[in-house]
C-alpha cells in the first residue's frame, strides 16, 4: 500500500500548516511520498490530493513537470552524471560512457539487480569540480573512472551509510513549534503586521 503512512500523514499535516494555501504543499508532499516509497505512485498522488484538497489529476499535472519525481520504480541508488558545458569540457561525457559500460545500462535504465539507475543530467551546481555526479543527491567531485568504480563497489557492499535510499532529500526537517511560530494564515486572513504598522511614520495632519 503506497498511500502515506500514518506517521507521514502527521508530517504531511505539519508541512501543510506552514503554507498559506494547502496546494503549496503539493511538491513537498510528493517528495515525502517518494521518500517513503522510493518513487511516486498513483496511490500516493491520490492520497496527496485528498490531503490538500485538489484532484488527483491536478497532482499528476504538477508532478509530471518536475524531473525529480519518478513515476515508475527506480533503483535504490540514482546515479546522476552531469554532461552540461563545464562538465563536458572536463570529461563528463567520457565518465557517462564509462558508467554505461560498467553498469551495462543506458541513461534512464536500471540495473537488473535493482540497485542502480543511471541518468544524464543537467547542471548540478558544482561546475568547478567537474566532472561530477550525484548519487541520491549527494555529490562526488572530480571523479575519474577508478573513483566511479570504487563508488559503485562501495554502494554494492552497503558501505556508504552517508547515502540514503532514493527519495530521501535533506535528512533534517524543519519544525516550527506552535508557540514559537509567528503564525501562517491564508492570504485572505492576513493583513499588515502590527509590528510594521506601529513603526510606520505618522503622516502629518493625521488624527
Amino acid at each position: 500500500m503506497s498511500r502515506l503512512s500514518a506517521a507521514n500523514v502527521l508530517l504531511a499535516r505539519e508541512i501543510i500548516s506552514r503554507y498559506p494555501r494547502p496546494k503549496s504543499a503539493l511538491i513537498p508532499l510528493l517528495h515525502l511520498s517518494q521518500e517513503q516509497n522510493g518513487w511516486v505512485t498513483n496511490e500516493a498522488m491520490e492520497h496527496i490530493a485528498e490531503l490538500i484538497g485538489v484532484t488527483p489529476a491536478e497532482v499528476l499535472g504538477t508532478c509530471s513537470f518536475y524531473e525529480m519525481f519518478k513515476r515508475e520504480p527506480v533503483g535504490k541508488y540514482m546515479v546522476n552524471i552531469c554532461t552540461n558545458i563545464s562538465c563536458l569540457l572536463n570529461g563528463g561525457e567520457e565518465l557517462l560512457h564509462h558508467a554505461e559500460e560498467t553498469l551495462g545500462i543506458k541513461p534512464g535504465g536500471t540495473t537488473d539487480d535493482g540497485l542502480f539507475t543511471l541518468e544524464d543530467v543537467e547542471c548540478i551546481a558544482a561546475c568547478t569540480e567537474a566532472p561530477c555526479l550525484q548519487v541520491n543527491y549527494r555529490y562526488e567531485y572530480r571523479i575519474d573512472n577508478q573513483g566511479f568504480d570504487r563508488m559503485i563497489e562501495d554502494l554494492r557492499g552497503g558501505k556508504r551509510s552517508d547515502i540514503p535510499t532514493h527519495g530521501t532529500l535533506g535528512r533534517i526537517r524543519q519544525h516550527i513549534d506552535s508557540d514559537r511560530g509567528a503564525g501562517i494564515e491564508s492570504p485572505e486572513k492576513t493583513g499588515k503586521p502590527d509590528w510594521f504598522a506601529s513603526r510606520e511614520p505618522v503622516e502629518e495632519g493625521a488624527s
Binding site: 569540457l89 549527494r138 567531485y141
Partner: protein, 479 residues
C-alpha cells in the same frame, strides 16, 4: 592572511586575496553552526535593525546599490520599492541555482545558512513582509539539511518566529523545495511552483512579483547571494560597502570559473576592479589555461550568455561594459574553452540544455529549441543539410527577433551588438538558446560548414556517434 588556496570543506572555493563580504566564514569548517555564527558577529545586524525605522533599513540597502546576484543585476533596493501598499506581502528566496556554470548559492546555503536567514529577516523587517519562503533546489540535499537545522536553531534562540529577540516583531521563515526544473529559477515560475503548479512563467507586465506575486500578492523575489550581503551592509554601512568594487557596481560578488583553466574555482571578487584576463591568468585566480593552450572562447555569464573571445579579455567585470560588448555578467558563471574545444559540440550541448528545460508554454521556445537541438545534432553527427546553418539562424530570429547580442569580430568587420536580446516569448529561456548558436556560427561558421556531408568532398569525416544516440530520423525531404 588569505591562503590563495582551495578550502577543502568548501569544494571549489579559493581563499584568494581580497575583501570578503559574503564568504568571510568559509574558512571555518563548522561555519554553519549557530554558535559559530554568533561568535563571529552573527545576528548583530538583526539586533541593530530591529531598533531602526524600517524605511531607514530600506534606504540603506538602496544607498549601497546592491545589485541582484541572480542574473538580471537589478538593484535590490529599487525592486523593494515597487510594492504597492497591499498585504499580505511575502519574501521568496530564490535558491534554485541551475544556470550552467553557476556555483555559489549552494556554497552560501551550505556554509553560511544563518547569514542568509539573517538577510531574509532584515528584508522582511524593512518591508513589513509577513512570511519568508526559502526555496531550495530539490537536488541540493545538504543545503536543505543545513538550512533546516539553522532554522530550527534560530527559532529556538529567538531569532526567527514570534517575538524576535523579545520584541513585537514576528516573522516566519519556511524552508521549501524545488523538484528539478531550471525554469523555476525564473521568478514568476518560482512563484508558480511555490503555489503547487507546473513551473511556467507569467507575463510581465502585469505579473511583476512586486505587484502580483505569490497568491497574487506583492512578493519580493531575491537571490541567495543578494540577501547574504545584507548583514554586512547593515553592520558596516552603505558607504563602507561602496568602498569595494567600482562606482557603477559596488561591492563584491562570487564568481565560479570553470572549464579549461588551471585552477577552476569559486572566488569572491571586487566588481569592476578585475578584467577577464586577470581572472583567467592571474595568480590570485585561475592561473592560466591548462597545458599552456590558447584561449578559444569563453562564456562570461552562464549558459544564457553570448560568447566572448580573446579580444574581449581586457573588459572589466562591469555589467554595463560587458553588456555593451555584446554579452552579460549574469549569475557570475565563467566557462573557459581552449583551442581543443569543438565549437559545434559546445553549442549543441548548451542548446540541448535549453531544449530539455523549456517549460513548453510559448510556441517559439517549445518548438524552436527542439528544432535547434535536432538540427545541431545532425550537423554534429555529419548528417546536416546545406541549408541548416541559415535555418538555425532563422529559427533563432523567430524566438528573438532582430540582431542578436554578439561580441565584435573586427577581423570580419563586425561590431558588437549590445545585450539584451528581444523576445517573442514570456521569459528569456527561449532567447537564451540563441546565444550559443549566434556566437558559434558568427565566429566559427567554417566548423559548421566542414561538418556538412558536402564537405566530404574535401576529405572531412563526420564525428563519432554520441552516447545519447543521433537523432538522424529526419531524413524526410524539406519542402
Amino acid at each position: 592572511m588569505a591562503s590563495n588556496a582551495y578550502v577543502e570543506h568548501a569544494p571549489g572555493y579559493v581563499d584568494n586575496e581580497g575583501p570578503k563580504v559574503v564568504t568571510s566564514r568559509f574558512g571555518d569548517p563548522e561555519s554553519y553552526r549557530l554558535a559559530n555564527y554568533e561568535d563571529t558577529g552573527g545576528y548583530n545586524a538583526l539586533r541593530a535593525v530591529i531598533n531602526m525605522d524600517p524605511s531607514d533599513v530600506h534606504g540603506q540597502v538602496r544607498d549601497a546599490v546592491l545589485l541582484g546576484r541572480g542574473g538580471a543585476g537589478f538593484p535590490a533596493g529599487v525592486k523593494w520599492g515597487f510594492m504597492p501598499p497591499v498585504w499580505p506581502r511575502y519574501l521568496v528566496v530564490n535558491g534554485d541555482e541551475s544556470e550552467p556554470g553557476t556555483y555559489k548559492d549552494r556554497l552560501l546555503m551550505e556554509r553560511d545558512p544563518h547569514q542568509l536567514i539573517e538577510g531574509c529577516l532584515i528584508t522582511c523587517f524593512a518591508l513589513g513582509l509577513n512570511t519568508c519562503f526559502l526555496y531550495v533546489r530539490g537536488e541540493m540535499a545538504l543545503a536543505q539539511e543545513r538550512i533546516a537545522q539553522a532554522l530550527n536553531d534560530a527559532y529556538e534562540a529567538g531569532y526567527v518566529g514570534r517575538n524576535i529577540m523579545g520584541t513585537d516583531v514576528s516573522i516566519d521563515v519556511v524552508l521549501t523545495w524545488g523538484a528539478g526544473a531550471y525554469i523555476v529559477g525564473e521568478e514568476t515560475a518560482l512563484i508558480e511552483s511555490l503555489e503547487g503548479n507546473r513551473g511556467m512563467p507569467r507575463l510581465k507586465p502585469p505579473f511583476f512579483p512586486a505587484a502580483k506575486g505569490l497568491y497574487m500578492k506583492p512578493t519580493i523575489v531575491n537571490n541567495v547571494e543578494t540577501l547574504s550581503n545584507l548583514p554586512w551592509i547593515v553592520i558596516n554601512g552603505a558607504e563602507a560597502y561602496k568602498k569595494f568594487g567600482s562606482e557603477r557596481s559596488p561591492g563584491t560578488r562570487m564568481l565560479a570559473i570553470s572549464g579549461h583553466v588551471n585552477r577552476p574555482g569559486v572566488y569572491e571578487v571586487e566588481q569592476g576592479k578585475v578584467t577577464f584576463r586577470d581572472l583567467f591568468y592571474g595568480d590570485n585566480f585561475c592561473q592560466g589555461i591548462r597545458d599552456g593552450n590558447e584561449l578559444k572562447m569563453f562564456i562570461p555569464g552562464g549558459g544564457s550568455a553570448p560568447w566572448f573571445f580573446p579580444e574581449q579579455l581586457d573588459i572589466p567585470l562591469e555589467a554595463s561594459d560587458v553588456g555593451a560588448a555584446g554579452s552579460m555578467l549574469g549569475s557570475g558563471a565563467l566557462v573557459v574553452m581552449d583551442e581543443t574545444t569543438d565549437a559545434v559540440k559546445a553549442c549543441l550541448r548548451v542548446v540541448r540544455f535549453f531544449a530539455r528545460e523549456s517549460c513548453g508554454k510559448c510556441t517559439p521556445c517549445r518548438e524552436g529549441t527542439t528544432w535547434e537541438e535536432k538540427i545541431l545534432q545532425r550537423i554534429n553527427d555529419g548528417y546536416g543539410r546545406m541549408e541548416d546553418i541559415e535555418l538555425l539562424l532563422s529559427i533563432g530570429d523567430q524566438i528573438s527577433p532582430g540582431p542578436y547580442p554578439a561580441a565584435a569580430h573586427e577581423a570580419e568587420g563586425l561590431t558588437a551588438v549590445p545585450f539584451p536580446p528581444r523576445q517573442t516569448t514570456i521569459c528569456p529561456l527561449g532567447p537564451s538558446s540563441v546565444a550559443p548558436i549566434t556566437s558559434a556560427i558568427r565566429r566559427f561558421r567554417h566548423e559548421f560548414e566542414l561538418r556538412l556531408p558536402a564537405a566530404a568532398d574535401h576529405g572531412f569525416r563526420p564525428s563519432g556517434e554520441t552516447s545519447s544516440g543521433s537523432e538522424i530520423a529526419d531524413n524526410e525531404v524539406v519542402s
